[in-house]
Assembly symmetry: C2
Homo-oligomer: 202 residues x 2
Amino acid sequence: MPTESSESSRARSMNETRDRILEVALEVLGENPDAGMGEIASAAGVVRRTVYGHFPARLDLVRTLTDRAVTEMTAVLTEADAPGAQADAAWVEFIARVWPVAHRYRVLLALRRGEYGEAIHALLGPLDELLADLVKRGQDSDVFAHHLPPDILSQAAYGVVFAIADSDLSNATHGARAATITSLLMLGVPETRATALTADQP
Amino acid sequence: MPTESSESSRARSMNETRDRILEVALEVLGENPDAGMGEIASAAGVVRRTVYGHFPARLDLVRTLTDRAVTEMTAVLTEADAPGAQADAAWVEFIARVWPVAHRYRVLLALRRGEYGEAIHALLGPLDELLADLVKRGQDSDVFAHHLPPDILSQAAYGVVFAIADSDLSNATHGARAATITSLLMLGVPETRATALTADQP
DNA sequence: ACTTCGTTGCACACTGCTGTGCAACCTACT
DNA sequence: AGTAGGTTGCACAGCAGTGTGCAACGAAGT
C-alpha cells in the first residue's frame, strides 16, 4: 500500500489527464469562451465522458481554473508588492510578472460576464481587494491620481492589461511594456516616470 | 392611397412596434447579452412570433442595432472632430457627446465577442478607423503618447470609456468626467492638461 | 489469476433556444 | 361589406449542449 506522500502509477496518470484537461481547457476556452465540453475533451485527446469523470459539471472545471488563476496571481502580487516599496514601482513589478499568467488565463476576462460570472467574481474578489489596496496606497501617497475610486481604478487598470494581453500585441516584443505603460498612465503616473520605471523591460 | 412621404396609420403603428422592439432589445441585452428572443419579445409587450416578423433572424436584430449605433456615433464623432482643433480637445468633445450613446449601446461591447462578433466588428470597422485617425493625428502632433500604435490605443481608450459607462459610476454625477480623464491619461495627456480640458464638465 | 478502476463508446433524457407554419383574430383601409 | 395585413397563439422540427447510465476494455495493483 502506497503511503500518502507518494503516488501510485495509477493516480499519477490520472492526475496527468486531469492536468492536461485543465491545460487544454485554458487554450480552447481562450480561443472561444463558448466552447463545449466535447471540444475541450477532444482537444485533450480524451472522450467527453472522461472529462465529466474529473469534473462533474462544467462549472467545476471553470471553478478549478479560476482557483488556479487566483492562487497564481495572488502569489505574484504578494511577491511583487513589498510593503515598503513605492506603489508605482510595485505595480510595474506586478504587471511584469503577472503578464504571462494573465495571458494564460485571459479566458476569465470573458467568463466574468455570462453564466458563471457570479461564481468567478466571488473567487476573484480577494485578488480584486488586494489590487484595490495597492492602488489606494498609491493614491494616499499621491503617486497615483484620484480621478476614480481605488476599486474601479484598479479594475480598469488591470482590465487594460488583460485586454492588451489578449490583443495581437501579446506576441509582439514590446507588448508587456506597452501594457505596463498604459496602465501606469491611467493610474495617473506621468509619462516620463512611466517610461523610466519600465526602462529595463523588453 | 397614401403618398410616399406620409405613412398610413397601419405602417406607423408597425414602425412603432418595430422601434419599441429595438429600444427594449437594447435594455434587455444591456442587462444580459445572452437574453433570448422570447425575453426581448415579452419585454416589448409582444409575442416572440411577432419579433420574427420584423427580424427574420436574431442576427438581423443585432445588425440593425449595430447599424444605428454606428450611425449615431459616427455623427457624433464628425461633429466633435473639427479638422482644425487639437486632437485632445476633439477627444474630450467626442467623449462628452458620445457618453450617453455609449451607455445606450453598451451591449455591443459584450456582443463583439461571441457568435455575431465578426458581423459587428465589420460594421464597427469604419468607426474604429475614424477613431484611430484621430488618435494618430494626436500622436503626430505630439499631443498623445506613442507607447501603442494608434489603432490599438484608440480601441483601448474608448474601451475604457465604455467599461466605465457600464460600471456603477454611470449613475454617478462625475462618471462622464472620470471616464474622459481616464481615457485622456492613457492617451498620454498630462494630468494637469486633462483636468483643465474637462473643467467645464459635471 | 484476480481485482480495481480509469477510460471508452454508446445510448438516453433533458433543457433552452431558434426559426417556421398556419389558422384565427382584429383593425385599418377601400 | 369586404379585403389586406400585422398580430397572436400554438404546434412543430431542429439543433446544440449538458449531464447520466451502463457495459466493456485494458492496464496497474494485489
